[in-house]
């Protein structure tokens, strides 16, 4: 592949993310990877549901007392919005508008960062209450499920930051288009997982 090919919005392919064989491979491979990730989270969800509210005798914490929906609602909004902004970015990827794409991705990253900070706040709040990782089977399962998601968000943030800065000088080409695109797939995936966490962990925790 030649990085020096200069594109214009007219010559830019309709599907830049899979315009070459390497790109197609990455594209399919990443979808498959997300399939594996789905099973990974499914295992975490199943374990969480089995261990929810379970602790040593005299264990005091329940989902109802612990979770506060308003905070989680704000987190959800931040993450959902970041998914939307990443869609805008992909729109500009396809129309070969590098500046706007970078901008929207930057906004995506900021929203993601906001989400992550609130999650850190949430966790530290629980720890202060005495709900630590080692406190019970429930706490281990909770932190592992929600923490694995948070870890994915953090990885995504580092990833997109590196991408934004690495390519800031040179603009779009068929090599990095795939990288940007797979990031957006990843980001949507994280978002979907969060929707399930919001429902299964928080909503069903408070209501059920």
């Amino acid at each position: 592949m030649d990085l020096n090919t200069k594109f214009t919005p007219e010559t830019w392919p309709a599907h830049p993310e899979r315009a070459t064989l390497e790109a197609k491979n990455k594209f399919v491979g990443f979808w498959l990877f997300l399939g594996g990730e789905t099973i990974l989270f499914a295992t975490l969800f199943a374990t969480y549901m089995a261990l929810k509210n379970k602790g040593p005798s005299g264990f005091g914490f329940t989902t109802q007392e612990l979770y506060t929906l308003p905070l989680v609602f704000v987190m959800t909004m931040l993450l959902l919005t970041s998914s939307l902004t990443s869609v805008y970015a992909m729109y500009h990827l396809k129309s070969f508008n590098f500046k706007k794409m970078q901008l929207w991705l930057g906004i995506t990253a900021l929203l993601g960062l906001g989400f992550l900070m609130l999650e850190v706040y949430e966790f530290s709040h629980y720890v202060q209450l005495g709900f630590t990782f080692s406190n019970s089977a429930f706490s281990s399962a909770f932190y592992t499920l929600v923490g694995t998601h948070g870890f994915h968000v953090a990885v995504g943030l580092v990833w997109i930051t590196l991408l934004i800065f690495r390519n800031s000088k040179r603009g779009l080409n068929l090599y990095n288009a795939t990288k940007y695109y797979t990031f957006s797939l990843y980001w949507h995936f994280i978002d979907v997982v969060w929707v399930f966490i919001f429902t299964v962990v928080y909503l069903m925790g408070v209501i059920g």
Binding site: F33, L40, L51, A137
Partner: protein, 625 residues
Amino acid sequence: MSSVAQKSGFGATLWDWLTTVDHKKIGILYLLGGLFFFVLGGIEAMIIRLQLITPNNDLVSAGLFNDLITMHGTTMIFLAAMPMLFGFMNAIMPLQIGARDVAFPFINSLGFWMFAFGGLFLNISWLFGEVPDAGWTSYASLSLHSPGHGIDFYAIGLQIAGGGTLMAGINFLVTIINMRAPGMTYMRMPLFTWTTFVASAMILFAFPPLTIGLFFLTFDRMFGGNFFDHTMGGNTIIWEHIFWIFGHPEVYILILPAFGIFSEVFSVFARKRLFGYTAMVFATVLIGFLGFMVWAHHMFTVGLGPTANAIFAVATMAIAVPTGVKIFNWLLTIWGGSIKVTTPMLYALGFIPSFVMGGVTGVMQGAAPLDYQLHDSYFIVAHFHYVIVGGVVLAIFAGLHYWWPKMFGTMLNELLGKITFVFFFVGFHLTFLIQHWLGFWGMPRRVWTFMDGQGWNLANFVSTIGALSMAIGFTVMVINIIMTTIKNERVGNDPWGDGRTLEWAIPSPPPFYNFPATPLVRGLDTLWIEKMEGSKEMITPAEPITDIHMPHGSIIPMLMTLGLFIAGFGAMFHQETSWGLGVLIFGLAFTFVTMAIRSLKDDLGYYVTKEQILQDQENIKRGRN
């Protein structure tokens, strides 16, 4: 081997192998790595059998015995059988579909190094004298309470190796989806490629649960987690579910590629098109699917209740149907063929009755009420050795003889090959047939020794003699490999003379770019079609020869894995030492930095020019005459 200038000398060669991203070389690395661990696991097995040769034996202590059975099972499944199959998949599958490489050469190399370092990590436990000792299944009720770092080695070593497996699986899937040559439709793919495809899909869905299970175990043992500790509200059965949701598909991940190898061997040496190709493909897919529905047959005695047991019993028996379809197709492939009994064919012929016996005992265990009698007895040991040795290991040996010339350009000695087969095959049945009865007579599995006067003495003695015979057979094979390598008589494209698939249409070993021009595939058994038409070049090109794009080698996969390896020790010792946490963080950071380097540095590969290829082809032709 290639016309592109290469440095010589030991250092350069070593560097070449450490950094290679060529699927054929990675295939060889997998194969040799797997063979190494096969020897290790074999030695462990021999000590186990020697300990059990007489009652009240004390060749090894009870504790060491537990170490041995755990490491034997873990090593053979994760570090011997899987890698050797991956060796064939890497070396052969891309050739079969007419591809120049796999989809992700870099990740391919990463997968290999993760297997290698994971295996190393597990086995370093021997040097520490703290070895995994809760069985290859490592049930949490045992493993949480195992003192020392043995189980930690298990959890982290398998985590690293398992990650590599996952990458290999995705890589093979994408290779098959995207990189088939023109005309190579799904229903023209050789069966080995098909089984690679389905096994890889199973890896994709079976290994993430293992990853999570191992993390839980790691957390519980090293980071204060409580997943399996019932005093803290945990549940030890969760491990069993997770392990078997992975574990049962895993046994099919092993056997499907074995089926693929035998399908190739049968049709080549019966010189007939595989009977019922379409049925074979669908049976493979169906087995892959059903393989995920039956895990609880390993847990009949846990107490899941009659409804669950009944459902899983029926699902288990259902798997026997597509398996039976396959057996009949192989039989009908041989039927009326003009058979050549070569070494690979001998293994294939021996495989059918052996594997059928394993399948039958499997269905017996699948009947939940009967399994209450059989569970955790030597009957189980007999069953899974019949399917794994009688199926997977025979297939690996068949594959070794069958594809050795393609991978190394020289042919293993047929006479020695047949001697190997006789010793190994007889030894195998001698070892494991009698274990069915040992199970009926009440001998539990995983016992260190047994008392005199229970009627088990003779059977155990016979079993050990059988194991010796297998060891002799294997030794002959190693001698064969060494002799063949020293003699190094070069062979041509199609040394068996009856090759049907694309890998036999190109030189042995193939040039690093595999195909000078991408082949055009005009039907199942591509090469056979060309042969029947009397084609001279044996390949119809789909395009003129042009410049070929190739990936650069890289040391980063190995360094990335090294970071994980270091981090593993940090995790293990962080509770009792001051440096543990630092090492853990350093290792992970190291991995992350190498990953970032990989991501930030463009690697666009390089081109082999048309002239170089033509020159190379010319050299190959001249070398042949």
